[in-house]
Symmetry: C2
Subunit: 136 residues, 2 copies
DNA sequence: CTAATTGCAAATTGTTTGCATATTC
DNA sequence: GAATATGCAAACAATTTGCAATTAG
């Protein structure tokens, strides 16, 4: 289990309540947009400014503490963790971490050594698929 | 070889010089951002407005004539063609179409039936890797 | 105490909208 | 001629910057 304050110190960043809160939110929320982070934090930090979030996300990206997902035009961020891919439901918009099978990963790595693969799978999630009364 | 004007008519869009130019540019350029399209067209169409490009790209997306690539935060567009993936050079930023091996495609389709996969491979392209005098 | 961080307001950049004019079919 | 498209300017939204006040180490 990663201690957020240590993570920050390790990377040479000061530990501030705002930073911890941003990381904590990402940790809980999984994949969040800037606006979502702002909304979630507004309750505990009415003084928190968007500028601070922007500045921090840039810093955290730079230091490799978080990554940015390119889900079409909605930027999402998540804390760096083990390599994984993403499934995006085209109906409800939910994003889920998925793990490709070892064979696929191996094949990709074989074909593109020394590279980083980002795989996005767009489809309908089980929940949306299964629901009888169409949600929308 | 696809005739752009027919493509437009098929989809119920009127054929205008601006539209043709935008499509032509995309066809030649491969993957272009809005700004890039604008730059390229400015020479032949000094009157062309960004608003027109925005409006047209939305329409073309809607009708499935073009697709949008989510390359981190730089939106790129390209004309719809056979399924393919993209390689992005982290050094020079070049984007190249790549084709995954049939085995990988098959495995992905098996694992995620009825879905669309977007695969981005980030690495250093041969040109950047090979050049002795570092470009930057 | 020093350097980094915050948060405001202003500046900048990116995108969308309304509407009068022009164009396509 | 009717419906659609263009392009301008204005509106709106997203992101960045400068800076004085505050905080972490």
């Amino acid at each position: 289990m990663l201690l957020l304050r240590e993570l920050l110190r390790e990377k040479g960043l000061k530990v501030t309540p705002q930073r911890l809160a941003i990381l904590q939110t990402l940790k809980e929320g999984g994949h969040l947009s800037i606006e979502e982070i702002y909304q979630k934090l507004y309750a505990q930090f009415p003084s928190l400014s968007l500028a601070t979030i922007y500045k921090n996300l840039h810093l955290l990206l730079e230091r490799g503490i978080i990554t940015e997902l390119a889900i079409h035009n909605r930027h999402k961020f998540e804390i760096v963790k083990e390599p994984h891919s993403h499934f995006i439901c085209e109906k409800c918009g939910k994003i889920e971490d998925i793990h490709l099978s070892p064979e696929i990963c191996e094949k990709l790595n074989q074909k593109f050594p020394d590279s980083r693969q980002e795989v996005y799978i767009y489809g309908i999630c089980p929940r949306c698929r299964g629901e009888k009364g169409e949600k929308e």
